[in-house]
């Protein structure tokens, strides 16, 4: 233990500038953070810029500090004095970890506790969550920094290593942009990647501290990075969303019936000078929805388009990520599919046979409660509070460590007491009520510096064609229907689009849908809110009102 403390004290003396800089930045961050809760702006632009980049600067200062702590006893090369002194490698490593704990984790933890206290969130119940956040920091920041520090000997090599890391990350980003979506399925190798990444970091750190085999350590990192990139490139082709979204079964049926609305299509886009962007075009298909079961929510999570082209070839988009929420009252959704511009150019005006496969996560609404929006603030179920900023069409919400969820909120908006300007929707509103859905059921906190989670809740309502939606202000006195959401099952369904012209489903810039709303009749359902929140809501309290939906 004495050797550990001895090396630690030496590091503290040696690295005081780096320590001081990171602590100063942390204090500045902690001081400025409460101002962001109220969205106070500074008069000086450079200060705003500094505040915007402060978290990144702070993280960079920690990376630099940890790397420099390790490089206090450089593990690269064979000329350092300490390698022929009675250093015990595990004590040297322990001394470096002690440095990381004292100069990174401890100040950050104290800052987080202080912010929670200032935001009036309970401290005791947040401790475990904070420890989890710090475990995430170990994984995301400490491990890679220790690894870089252990395979580099100075600032120059560190800079090169960080540049290489950036290049590899850009490589991953490029792959993600050109390959079919790999995050569509639960089968995506994220967990395997995380395990491989963590194991590699730990192995490299141990190899370097114990044996100082830098070449071997660097080769291991290079090999693992190459393997991960190669796997990432192949994975989407090996494991498609087909495995993630099984076909419907009697106990896990499709949440509704889906078919192509053949009356609707885009028109006038040919005249658009900027009809294409980049190398991809995005098509949208009007899919009619009928028979969505009561108390059921569906998230359209993935979509795949298959085309039989006129030249006899088959084209598939592979599974693509979509995040569309389909709640009660919806009659239509517009799944969007990206396709290469070159394909679209060749076959856009030809008749092709098309098939759309949709992957859903099906949820069930739990017990609903009704509450009335207060003038200024409202409690968020699950531990949080929201400020009503009516001028901004959303609720500004705060919670400790993570966003509570999952949750469904619906309201009859706009209404007579809470109207919006006519320009908000020139085409009129869809039948489905305004709603907000948070499906994420992850109970663990997110990796973030501030323990005060800041998020918005906006109730959006679809316009008549249900291809777009708008956020609506929530006036005081508006009744809100709030329900928890329970995940049930994933399922996929196929929609035979028949023979279509792809040109008809390219929205272009003008988004002219034909026929117009008045030519295409929408059959409004009955009171969607009441129907889906039966049996009747809890006995009205003094703050509860009954509303009538006029849809």
């Amino acid at each position: 233990m004495s050797q550990i403390l001895h090396i630690f004290r030496k590091d503290a003396r040696h690295r005081w500038p780096e320590i001081l800089i990171s602590l100063a930045l942390l204090v500045v961050y902690a001081t400025l953070q409460p101002r962001t809760w109220t969205e106070q702006e500074y008069n000086r632009a450079y200060l705003d810029t500094f505040i915007r980049y402060l978290p990144a600067i702070l993280i960079l200062s920690w990376v630099f500090l940890i790397v420099r702590l390790v490089q206090g006893e450089t593990l690269v090369g064979d000329r350092q004095f300490w390698i022929t002194r009675p250093y015990e490698w595990h004590k040297l490593l322990a001394a470096k970890l002690l440095g990381v704990f004292v100069f990174f984790h401890l100040p950050l933890f104290l800052m987080q506790i202080t912010l929670l206290y200032m935001a009036k969130f309970p401290l005791g119940s947040s401790i475990l969550g904070l420890l989890y956040v710090h475990a995430l920091f170990v994984f995301a920041l400490v491990l890679p920094s220790l690894t870089i520090g252990s395979i580099t000997s100075g600032i120059g090599q560190t800079t090169i290593a960080l540049l290489i890391v950036c290049v590899v990350l850009l490589g991953f980003a490029y792959l993600a942009s050109v390959l079919p979506d790999s995050d569509v399925g639960v089968d995506s190798p994220d967990t395997e990647y995380a395990i491989l990444y963590g194991a590699t970091c730990v192995a490299v750190i141990l190899i370097q501290f114990n044996y100082r085999r830098t070449l071997a350590a660097r080769l291991i990192i290079g090999a693992v990075a190459m393997a991960m990139i190669a796997t990432g490139a192949v994975w989407p082709f090996l494991f498609s969303g087909t495995d993630t979204f099984p076909p419907p079964k009697p106990n896990a049926p499709l949440p509704a019936q889906f078919s192509l609305d053949q009356n609707l299509m885009f028109s006038g886009s040919d005249a658009e000078p900027f009809r294409f962007y980049r190398d991809d075009v995005e098509l949208e298909f009007p899919i009619q929805i009928s028979g969505l079961a009561a108390k059921t929510l569906a998230q359209l999570r993935a979509a795949k388009l298959d085309l039989d082209l006129p030249n006899g070839e088959h084209w598939t988009s592979h599974w693509q990520s979509v995040y569309h929420n389909i709640s009660f009252g919806r009659t239509r959704d517009w799944p969007n599919i990206k396709m290469k511009r070159s394909i679209f150019d060749r076959f856009g005006s030809s008749s092709v046979r098309a098939r759309l496969t949709l992957g859903f996560n099906v949820y069930e609404l739990g017990t609903a409660t009704q509450t009335v929006m207060a003038a200024d603030r409202i409690s968020y179920p699950g531990g949080g509070r929201c400020l009503n900023e009516i001028s901004r069409d959303y609720l500004r919400c705060f919670s400790a460590l993570k966003q509570p969820g999952p949750l469904f909120v619906a309201a009859n908006l706009p209404n007579s007491s809470c109207a919006v300007s006519k320009s908000a929707s020139t085409e009129g509103w869809a039948t489905a009520p305004a709603s907000f859905v948070e499906f994420s059921g992850d109970s663990t906190p997110d990796l973030q510096l501030s323990p005060v989670n800041d998020f918005n809740v906006s109730l959006t309502r679809h316009h008549a064609y249900e291809d777009r939606s708008s956020s609506l202000p929530i006036c005081a006195g508006t009744p809100l229907y709030i329900s928890n959401v329970i995940f049930r099952y994933p399922v996929r369904g196929e929609v035979d689009l028949g023979r279509i012209l792809l040109n008809d489903y390219f929205p272009g810039i003008s988004r002219k849908i034909s026929p117009r709303q008045d030519e295409h009749t929408i059959k409004p359902p009955s009171d969607a809110l009441s129907r889906n929140f039966v049996p009747p809501l809890a006995p009205p309290s003094s703050r509860t009102t009954t509303i009538e939906l006029k849809l």
Binding site: H6, Q80, T84, E88
Partner: protein, 298 residues
């Protein structure tokens, strides 16, 4: 137990054999000078002994510990100084010694003070501000102050001025009484002063390894004046090197000098001898003779 022992020690860098099956031992208490030309493999050998490099094959033990396991606590008994060692330049000399102190249970504060004084070390100067010679002195002080059982020095005098070399030699000699010293150097004259054993390496091989007293006793530079001029005969003894004849003067180096046998052998080979001089040789002269003859002496 020998302080250092190797068995078929080999180190390859790619296709190059830096060390080629070395077998030698350094007895405890010896001051063993490791000499040889540049590229002979001296530094490689020392780095393997200190577990900085790994041997390709063969074994080496240092103070009874396999060289592959020399680390941590083993270094509490080994004082190692190398000419190109990187010291923590940001530390002052005083804080450098103070920092190292707790690592060594046998650290002797009095000896440290004595070394600081005798080597004239400026305790308040940062190591990076010191000259090369002063840094070597600081490194040596830090390697001697804990009374190591084994002192390993890699070219400690290289590029230093005579004053510093003298100070370092003195400090080393004072400590050599109760330690084994293994040092490599180009400076043969310096070695001659205090080495008890000598090892000559060339091209990764040991050409010679023996006690200094025995080496200097068996090497003689011989100048013979013959009564009648004679050519150099064939089939000379293998222990004779650099044999040359000029008229009646014959010169040679005998690597197995025997006060009675050598004169008799000369007479037998060259005929009547008018005069013969047998001059002891310096270490430098011995190794030059060895190097030029390219022979491995018996």
């Amino acid at each position: 137990m020998n302080a250092i022992q190797t068995e078929a020690l080999t180190k390859r860098f790619g296709r190059v054999n830096a060390l080629d099956g070395l077998d030698f031992c350094v007895p405890q208490g010896a001051v063993n000078a490791l000499v040889g030309p540049n590229g002979a493999g001296k530094t490689t050998l020392i780095k393997i002994l200190m577990n900085i490099f790994r041997a390709s094959s063969g074994e080496a033990s240092v103070l009874g510990v396999n060289s592959r396991k020399v680390s941590g606590k083993t270094f509490a008994s080994i004082g190692y100084v190398s000419e190109n060692q990187q010291l923590p330049g940001w530390m002052r000399v005083g804080s450098f010694l103070a920092y190292l102190r707790p690592f060594y249970p046998t650290w002797d504060n009095q000896l440290e003070a004595q070394l600081v004084q005798s080597l004239d070390l400026p305790l308040d100067r940062k190591l990076k501000q010191l000259s090369r010679g002063m840094r070597m002195k600081a490194a040596l002080a830090s390697a001697l102050a804990f009374r190591p059982k084994l002192i390993v020095l890699d070219e400690p005098f290289s590029g230093l001025d005579p004053m510093v070399r003298d100070e370092l030699s003195k400090a080393l000699l004072e400590r050599a009484a109760d330690a084994t010293v293994f040092l490599s150097s180009h400076d043969l004259a310096e070695m001659e002063g205090f080495a008890t054993h000598v090892m000559f390496m060339d091209a990764g091989r040991i050409q010679l390894c023996e006690k200094m007293s025995s080496l200097t006793a068996r090497f003689r530079e011989v100048i013979v004046t013959l009564a009648v001029p004679a050519p150099v005969p064939a089939n000379l003894p293998p222990t004779w090197m650099q044999v040359s004849a000029n008229d009646s003067i014959v010169r040679l180096v005998d690597s197995a000098f025997d006060a009675e046998g050598t004169p008799a052998e000369i007479s037998r080979r060259f005929g009547p001898v008018q005069n013969a001089a047998f001059a002891p040789m310096t270490l430098r002269a011995i190794f030059l003779a060895l190097g030029r003859s390219g022979k491995k002496p018996s």
